[in-house]
């Protein structure tokens, strides 16, 4: 693909945009790998097909980001074994190995997608141009995934409210703890292993973003997603309050 000129004001902007793309590509590949793993373990044919479909969708997103970064000549880095992404993957695999489709759906389509949709929207609006449009378009697609999963999870809640809420709570602390540490103002577990230099959160202002606002927006969308599923607000409020900050 031919490289096109993109107006980077300075090297800091180039670096932070590169890191933003690196995180997006890595995140999508994690999502793809997660659903690919799940498709191999579950027996139910419909769930198996759904898992493959999800994996393919994440693959398309990763391809889109890769192509765009190449077009812009960015210095991207993919690392599925980075500190946080690897932990997220391990949590997912823990449930995939138990053939627990619903738990996997909660991790991927509620927790990870809340962060993806919110942060892609913020990045898309900040970047503008064709890279911005790509982020916004993928955010829209991920939003549709969230909505579809919400319907499935609402049904699960109706079947066994107490059991479902208890299960959700366990997954919340397994997965959201990692995302919360990852998105905190300062990485609470050290460097993510994806950004090229120092943590990109300190440089987001070069593209008009703020890590505190991005994280806040992501948690807002996550809380709203829980509300839509039907998790009582008094419970989700306590869950969120107990996350690392």
């Amino acid at each position: 693909m031919e490289e096109v000129s993109y107006d980077f004001n300075n090297v800091e902007t180039f670096n932070v945009v590169s890191d933003v793309f690196s995180q997006a590509i890595t995140g999508e590949l994690i999502g793809m790998s997660n659903f690919a793993s799940l498709s191999g373990t579950i027996e139910d044919p419909y769930e198996k097909m759904e898992a493959v479909e999800h994996a393919d969708s994440e693959r398309h997103h990763a391809e889109g980001f890769l192509a765009c970064s190449k077009k812009m000549g960015l210095n991207t880095k993919v690392n599925l074994n980075g500190e946080y992404w690897k932990s997220v993957r391990e949590v997912f695999l823990k449930y995939a190995e138990k053939n627990d489709f619903i738990s996997c759906l909660i991790i991927q389509e509620v927790m990870l997608e809340s962060f993806a949709v919110s942060m892609y929207t913020d990045v898309g609006n900040a970047l503008g141009g064709f890279p911005g449009e790509l982020f916004l378009a993928i955010a829209d697609e991920e939003k549709e995934h969230m909505e579809h999963s919400t319907e499935i999870l609402q049904e699960e809640l109706q079947k066994d409210p107490e059991g479902f809420i208890s299960k959700f709570e366990t997954i919340h602390f397994d997965c959201m703890t990692i995302l919360s540490q990852f998105s905190a103002t300062q990485d609470l577990r050290g460097h993510c292993g994806v950004c090229n230099g120092e943590c990109m959160k300190n440089s987001l202002h070069h593209i008009g973003l703020d890590s505190v606002i991005m994280r806040g927006n992501a948690l807002n969308l996550y809380a709203e997603a829980l509300d839509k599923i039907g998790i009582p607000g008094d419970k989700s409020m306590v869950w969120i309050a107990k996350l690392p900050a």
Partner: protein, 363 residues
């Protein structure tokens, strides 16, 4: 919510007044095994949380009747109460009212700052089967009755005092003026909006009321024997008060006492507050870190209004709009309130209970 869901007698939509109380609450629910969060970390997240149910509350009337409702936190950032954030805050309050309807609450109080939605007549929520109130009538009632009590206890005659109202053009400020006009020697009005202040002056002069007004508190304060502050502002400075002045701090946030190094023999109390004599209970029990006051069972008048309406089984929009609170309304809700054992809060401020015997703030 389906028709089988039992209805709640009321919902309270509220907001926290300061970061200190928010920090206490958040660290309270985080439980002991987790490290307490510093306030700057809480600030990073708090205002982003959408409105949600926090706890159920049951209250008992003097008559023995019990009512149950829900507290919905609006998660309005206490640092963002200004005009710049009006649209965001109104959206939050609207979402909170929709949640109250979803929880099947019969009536909703929009407490404190959240009352902006009803004072502005922005939305009457007619599409939902619930009634709304700002709670401002009972707040005003508690303010005026506590001021009368404080003046009487100080040995002064009400008709000899000069009363300054800070925030005079707001809904509660206007109610206080209506109540005290003709009862005090002189009304002194202060508000940020000069045009509204001058309109109020014109009306009162036509009614033969002895008044003074101004935008500069510095000039007005030294003349006042009694000060009622009902403004929503962090920046009110109270300087050069008269000796023995009575200050009713009923605005948001209630922080005037923090600006005095020594209150001496002056009485400064948090106004607009009531006490549920027969008690209230939270589920989950957050009483150790939510609504903690120097005395048991205290609550804001705006919150208590919807509860009194529930005790009385009144199902109508009660306090709405701006400038609609009448003296008759104040007497009506105060009378109902007393009937159910919802009485004036004792005089207190952030330092503790005031010593009412000598009107000082010493414990």
């Amino acid at each position: 919510m389906d028709s089988k869901t039992p209805s709640l007698d009321f919902a309270i939509v509220g907001h926290s007044e300061d970061w200190k109380s928010i920090q206490k609450f958040i660290n309270g629910i985080r439980t002991a095994e987790l490290e307490p969060l510093p306030v700057d970390k809480i600030k990073e997240v708090f205002g982003f949380i959408p409105p949600r149910e926090i706890f159920r509350i049951t209250l008992r009337s003097k008559t023995g009747k019990e009512v149950t409702g829900v507290y919905i936190e609006s998660f309005i950032d206490p640092d963002k109460l200004g005009v710049t954030y009006l649209r965001t805050n109104i959206n939050k309050v609207k979402k909170a009212v929709i949640l109250a309807a979803k929880l099947n609450a019969k009536r909703v109080a929009l407490g404190g700052f959240t009352s902006i939605l009803l004072e502005g007549n922005i939305d009457s929520f007619e599409e939902y089967d619930l009634k709304v109130t700002t709670g401002n009538t009972l707040t005003a009632a508690f303010i005026v009755k506590s001021v009368e009590k404080a003046v009487a206890e100080s040995g002064q005659d009400l008709n000899s005092v000069k009363l300054l109202v800070i925030g005079a053009t707001g809904d509660i400020g206007m109610a206080c003026i209506q109540y005290f006009k003709g009862k005090v020697k002189k009304l002194i009005l202060n508000a940020r909006n000069k045009a509204k202040l001058e309109n109020a002056e014109k009306e009162l002069i036509e009614q033969g009321v002895n008044i003074a007004l101004g935008n500069s508190l510095e000039d007005l304060i030294p003349e006042a024997d009694v000060i009622i502050s009902v403004a929503s502002s962090n920046n009110i400075e109270i300087k050069n008060v008269r000796e023995g002045v009575i200050i009713c701090d009923a605005g948001y946030p209630k922080n005037l006492d923090l600006k005095f190094s020594d209150l001496k023999e002056n009485l400064l109390f948090h106004g607009g507050m009531g006490k549920v004599s027969h008690g209230y209970w939270f589920r989950p029990d957050y009483s150790n870190f939510f609504y903690t006051y120097p005395d048991q069972f205290l609550a804001h008048g705006c919150v208590l209004e919807v509860i009194v309406l529930a005790f009385e089984n009144v199902f109508e929009n009660y306090s709405t709009g701006k400038g609609n609170i009448t003296n008759k309304g104040i007497e009506e809700i105060y009378c109902w309130s007393l009937k159910h054992g919802v009485i004036l809060a004792p005089f207190y401020n952030s330092r503790g209970l005031c010593n009412q015997g000598n009107n000082s703030n010493k414990k």
